[in-house]
Symmetry: C2
Subunit: 322 residues, 2 copies
């Protein structure tokens, strides 16, 4: 008997063709091959990063699939933004329980399509498998920068200002909302938890002496910049930009804003003589930036002055998986 | 209170520093940053691919961690080999249950170190998270080829021979061994299931008119080459190279060898006038190759002549996750 393969593609391939092929971009070979093949941008350095997201850990199991997809893409875009990189494309793995409804994949792909258009990236390749556990996702993103222009965690100098984009703490409070621990009349906090705003387009190369995105909590991530640079940092809680919704949660949530994760804002070291350039870049990109403190000589530690003028006692770090 | 971060890194970061940082190569920024930054090889095209592996689906939960790690790396190396690409580096995500012993990570990293040295790749970046499900892994690998030299699934022509490397079916039978359905006195089948041999180093560019690696079963994957090229293929089961251990399993396992997955051998279309070049490349790399049939004009279907000379009735495809 001849095996009539053309009529009998297994469901896995049909699923990929139906939902993921429309997302495929240049170099992807239409997802019909074993690998993507692409010419790297001329005279640019590559920037590569990846993140995993697991149902019940990084998102809530009843979160809409399109928002889960967009968050997966956006947390990786945020890492590119922290490098000052231009997004190029991404590869993705999706491990889902057997019986995951086709509508889940349709919504997941629709979310990706929306953000691909918004951020100028396309799908290069991927792998779709089953799992006996919760939905488990990974995404590797590829971007590029001018040679030597990537902003790194190392590089902050004493006297540099500590700057952040957007508002801090919405993600941590949004998680509390999702868990039923906090009210969110406007829906702003939950939206920010589910759908971060990666700061792609803020031209930080040549302006920030160091930087990263805030994913594990402002204080912990600022500690990373301190350790990388071998210096301390002092910030003022009263200068940390909070959204109206975060302010409305009340002062008892301030520590959660400063130490909770999922902000996906940029945390930058900016020398005083480049503040004007930062302001211009921020205005050009339509992104708010705020100076919340400064780096200083000393042991790599972060001190936070509270609203009463005294140093705040904070839990010693952000989120750890182990 | 100042938060003394230098003394209190969360366990996640310590785990990364202890086990994964020693694997980090050029461009990885020592895994101490948000992304890898590297200069792409001059005048080369990039080849990118990724695979996920889930405990209980792609490997057995009691498989040694070093072998799981090496398989994860090797299945991706196999995709590069199918393109004729030179490996460069990889990014990896590891989602593991809380309480996964440190010894598991140590063994996992030792396996990676061994195969990094063997295949000339290094770790560029990654993400480590917890999961309430089984261990869930993903790996994205980056390689390079001369411009236009990547072997693709499309390109087979009528009259091209169907060629394979190594031996076919060991992986499928090794899975049966692991599940207790088959004896394996020599241990060869289980070893091949757990540790495929990616055919990195076989210089197929300019020789193979099309190719891919066999991961979902020989017949199904040959069907992919047929569909991509718009032509049929006829193979002879008696020409398919089987290991001594697979032969010893008996003729009732032949169909499993032809349709089971996890071979990670190369499946190539080679024009008759390039067979000598293939033989020379195979000898140079120390890899066995065998001609098992040919491509022909016609509908994209695969026919398999069995040991009795009649066409074999085979299940209609290989493995599908959904």
């Amino acid at each position: 008997m001849a095996v009539a393969l053309e009529a009998g593609l297994p469901p896995e391939f049909a699923l990929i063709a139906r939902h993921f092929r429309p997302l495929a971009g240049p170099g992807s070979l239409d997802l019909a091959d074993d690998a993507a093949v692409l010419t790297p941008p001329l005279n640019r350095e590559l920037v590569l990063t990846c993140d995993a997201m697991v149902g019940g850990v990084h998102f809530l199991l009843d979160d809409p699939a399109d928002l889960v997809a967009r968050k997966l893409l956006r947390v990786n875009l945020s890492d590119l933004a922290a490098k000052g990189a231009v997004p190029l494309g991404y590869l993705m793995t999706v491990s889902a329980p057997r019986g995951t409804p086709d509508a889940w994949f349709a919504s997941f792909a629709a979310g990706l399509a929306e953000d691909q258009a918004r951020f100028g990236v396309s799908l290069l390749g991927g792998d779709t498998t089953s799992t006996p556990g919760p939905i488990s996702l990974s995404l590797t993103i590829l971007g590029h920068v001018a040679p030597g222009a990537a902003v790194r965690r190392v590089g902050a100098r004493p006297g540099d200002g500590v700057w952040v984009t957007g508002t801090i703490g919405d993600g941590a409070l949004g998680l509390a909302v999702g868990q039923g621990r906090l009210a969110d009349p406007s829906g702003h906090l939950l939206r920010r938890y589910r759908l971060p705003d990666p700061r792609i387009g803020l031209a930080i190369s040549g302006i920030a002496s160091a930087g990263m995105d805030v994913s594990d909590g402002l204080v912990q991530d600022l500690g990373h910049l301190c350790r990388a640079g071998g210096l301390g940092a002092a910030i003022d809680a009263g200068l940390v930009p909070l959204s109206g919704a975060a302010r409305a949660a009340g002062p008892e949530w301030l520590a959660a804003c400063l130490t909770g994760g999922d902000d996906y804002e940029l945390l930058l070291a900016v020398p005083p003589d480049r503040e004007a350039a930062l302001a211009a870049a921020a205005a050009e990109a339509g992104i708010d930036v705020a100076r919340i403190g400064h780096f200083h000589r000393g042991a790599p530690r972060v001190s936070v002055r509270g609203p009463d003028g005294a140093e705040m006692a904070l839990p010693s770090g952000g989120w750890s998986h182990f």
